[in-house]
């Protein structure tokens, strides 16, 4: 038979437990302003109306003629530091052959020219495209010694990509947010034609070797460039005579969704990593050296 003090104690414990459960061990959730019921009611009428209404915006009218090019060079204005080695602990006989260490490639700065590689620049919207259809010659996206050979890879929607594996071991290539996550057998290849635009670049991984990482960007008009080892980039055959807005991205950028915001008032460079330019026919517009401050790049 339990004594009184025992049952007293257990009642107290039960009470405490119930209190703890009821008051919630979960942290309080961050509040969000709720919907505006009246506005929603009015909006619903718009949504169910049969006609699309006058709001249907016509596609941007083609105003210009001819074609121009845009070129420039990204330079890192800080000290890049030494890249960290990656933890490559699988298939070491291939992945870290002869003590070779795989290094983090998220910030590649050319030691002599300070050029910043792997910055993506693409046109946000264009009214005209010089080549109506994507090229049929395939691009090659290869992986060797457990590393994607292109850390940042750009392609036009519909353009075939030969996804290759030059290793004697199997990989898989997983393009996040796409329909593609395929086995690539040792020494094998498969072809993929991207079906949709990515917006900002999307991550590519190999799930067998989780340290393997790259980025891909697909654009419908193909007006996209990735800066080279010396930081330079060129986008050719852009439509001239119309205001163009470009989006700039870097993997380690501190801006929203990787947008690279620079202090460039002459180009109307915004914190969303966008700048504007209008090209003249046959012009090769050089926007010069673009200094990327250390503060724009995260750790």
């Amino acid at each position: 038979m339990p004594t009184c003090s025992r049952s007293n104690q257990s009642a107290a414990i039960v009470a405490l437990v119930i209190l703890a459960i009821a008051s919630g061990c979960r942290p309080e959730r961050v509040a969000s302003p709720g919907a505006d019921a009246e506005a929603a009611h009015a909006l619903k009428a718009t949504l169910v109306s049969a006609s699309s209404g006058a709001g249907a915006a016509a596609p941007a009218a083609a105003t210009g003629t001819g074609w121009g090019s845009l070129t420039g060079r990204f330079v890192f204005a800080g000290a890049p530091g030494t890249p960290k080695p990656l933890i490559a602990d699988k298939d070491t006989e291939v992945c870290s052959k002869a003590g070779m260490k795989l290094l983090d490639r998220s910030l590649l700065v050319d030691p002599s020219s300070k050029g910043l590689a792997n910055v993506v620049v693409f046109a946000r919207k264009t009214a005209r495209v010089k080549e109506a259809s994507p090229p049929s010659t395939p691009l090659v996206f290869d992986q060797k010694q457990c590393e994607f050979l292109s850390p940042v890879f750009a392609a036009r929607v519909g353009q075939p990509i030969d996804v290759k594996n030059s290793d004697p071991i199997g990989h898989n290539t997983n393009i996040s947010g796409s329909d593609f996550n395929q086995l690539i057998p040792a020494g094998g290849a498969t072809t993929y034609a991207p079906k949709a635009e990515t917006g900002m670049p999307t991550m590519v991984t190999c799930n067998v070797h989780p340290w393997m990482k790259a980025y891909m960007v697909f654009r419908k008009d193909g007006y996209v460039a990735v800066s080279a080892a010396d930081g330079s980039f060129t986008i050719a055959d852009l439509p001239a005579g119309e205001p163009l807005e470009f989006q700039v991205w870097h993997e380690r950028s501190t801006g929203p969704n990787g947008a690279l915001g620079l202090d460039k008032p002459d180009l109307k460079w915004t914190p969303k990593g966008r700048f504007q330019i209008t090209l003249q026919p046959d012009e090769v517009k050089d926007i010069g050296t673009l200094d990327v401050p250390a503060s724009a790049i995260g750790t």
Binding site: G34, D36, H41, L43, P185, G188, T190, N207
Partner: protein
């Protein structure tokens, strides 16, 4: 105090307990259920309170509330079915059970379908979050939506090896209503994600406000989501039947060769023993999203800690403060609106437990298309259909394989293992 009898103290504690309980359970009415916004995405996209309000308003107009669901014709959903599944548990005027989702699903999957129901944190694997619109077990290609029949099959069979039970005892009409409601929550969640992400894509002259036109909201946003669901009906993977006269012993031997070979490479993740002990420190897409945000937050916090404010201009200082406030808010949002990320172990193939169904064709679908949202890649394109059938046969033989030679851990019968 010293003169109180034991009896009095006990009854006092008991009364106190009852008062506590009454106070906590509340004598008032429960507030109406509401759809919780996707706070992780809202914070990731740095939405302002006005923008959060606009998204909530648009979603209210498009999808209604958990008690009063509505759907636009573009969704292709059946509102009558939704009404059977939605709302609090009750009987309607003709005695039909209503509120099926909250009776059977919401405690794990959450009222919003965000997999943040009260029991979610205690389950392994976590329940499915419908909002990204990604489903694993289906008869369609990797990026396609499941067919209606796929959802019904999961409800009917449950998911063996997980906390998802079978609802085979429910009447067909109720299972149909629940499958429709899952689609509804998924479309709503995916539309919400699209709207929240659309702020970043806005031109600067839009002043941070989404256009409230039918063209943008319905034709561009909602229809893009709904059309993928409609397309799934005709997207079933065509499967060449396994040859009827197949030599099963030879097929299993061929499947074993492929399993360990460089072409199909199953061994890398599922392990030399087939116990799922190969590559095991990866995440699925739902957990990986939280892991990536966690990395971003910790690197942002590290940078903010190092920054010195002494040399900053007033604008830089206010930017710095905004960044600190954002990091702080994001930490709190993750505490309340995300669960601790977990790695996804590759399936132990010696259990004989197949989450996506145990029919040979279910295994064929998994190998052919991979598993959406999970690391499992597709074998199509590099492994021809007849070889996929060999792998299916080998995998189906694994729980019964007696004479394992590979690996230190000798395979044995599944029932002897556990």
């Amino acid at each position: 105090m010293t003169f109180e009898t034991m009896h009095r103290r006990t009854s006092l504690a008991f009364t106190g307990l009852i008062v506590c309980l009454a106070a906590l359970t509340g004598c008032g009415k429960t507030p109406p259920a509401y759809f919780r916004p996707n706070m992780v995405e809202a914070t990731k996209q740095r939405l302002t309170p006005d923008q959060e309000k606009q998204v909530a308003t648009i979603l209210l107009a498009m999808f209604g509330t958990p008690d009063e669901p509505v759907c636009l014709p573009e969704t292709g959903l059946d509102e009558a079915k939704l009404r059977l599944a939605a709302g609090p548990v009750r009987s309607d005027i003709v005695g039909r059970k209503n509120g099926l989702y909250r009776e059977h699903c919401a405690h794990c999957h959450g009222v919003t379908g965000d997999a943040l129901g009260p029991t979610a944190a205690f389950l392994n694997p976590y329940p499915r979050d419908y909002r990204p619109g990604v489903f694993k077990f289906k008869s369609t290609e990797r990026a396609d939506k499941p067919t209606h029949a796929d959802l019904v099959r999961v409800l009917h069979n449950g998911i063996p090896g997980t906390s998802m039970p079978s609802f085979a005892l429910l009447p067909v009409a109720q299972v149909e209503a629940l499958a429709e409601y899952v689609k509804y929550l998924s479309m709503r969640g995916e539309t919400e994600l699209a709207l929240m992400r659309a702020y970043f894509e806005l031109d600067d002259d839009a002043q941070g406000k989404l256009p409230e036109t039918r063209e943008f909201l319905v034709d561009e946003t909602l229809a893009t989501v709904a059309d993928k669901w409609k397309a799934a009906a005709d997207a079933e993977i065509p499967v060449p039947p396994m040859p009827a006269d197949i030599d099963l012993v030879a097929s299993i031997a061929k499947g074993k060769e492929l399993f360990y070979g460089d072409k199909a490479n199953c061994v890398k993740c599922h392990g030399v023993t087939g116990l799922g002990d190969g590559q095991a420190n990866d995440y699925d897409d739902w957990n990986k999203a939280i892991v990536e945000i966690g990395k971003e937050l910790s690197s942002g916090a590290a940078a903010a800690r190092e920054a010195s404010t002494s040399g900053m201009s007033p604008e830089e200082l206010s930017e710095h403060r905004a960044q600190l406030a954002w990091l702080d808010k994001f930490g709190k949002v993750l505490d309340g609106d995300a669960l601790e990320p977990r790695t996804i172990p590759p399936r132990n193939l010696r259990h004989g437990i197949y989450r996506g169904g145990r029919r040979p064709i279910d295994l064929y679908y998994r190998i052919h298309a991979g598993i959406n949202g999970a690391p499992m890649p597709a074998a199509k394109g590099t492994v021809p259909p007849e070889d996929i059938w060999h792998i299916v046969n080998y995998v189906r033989s694994l729980p019964y394989e007696l004479d394992g030679e590979l690996g230190a851990d000798k395979p044995m019968l599944a029932r002897d293992r556990f």
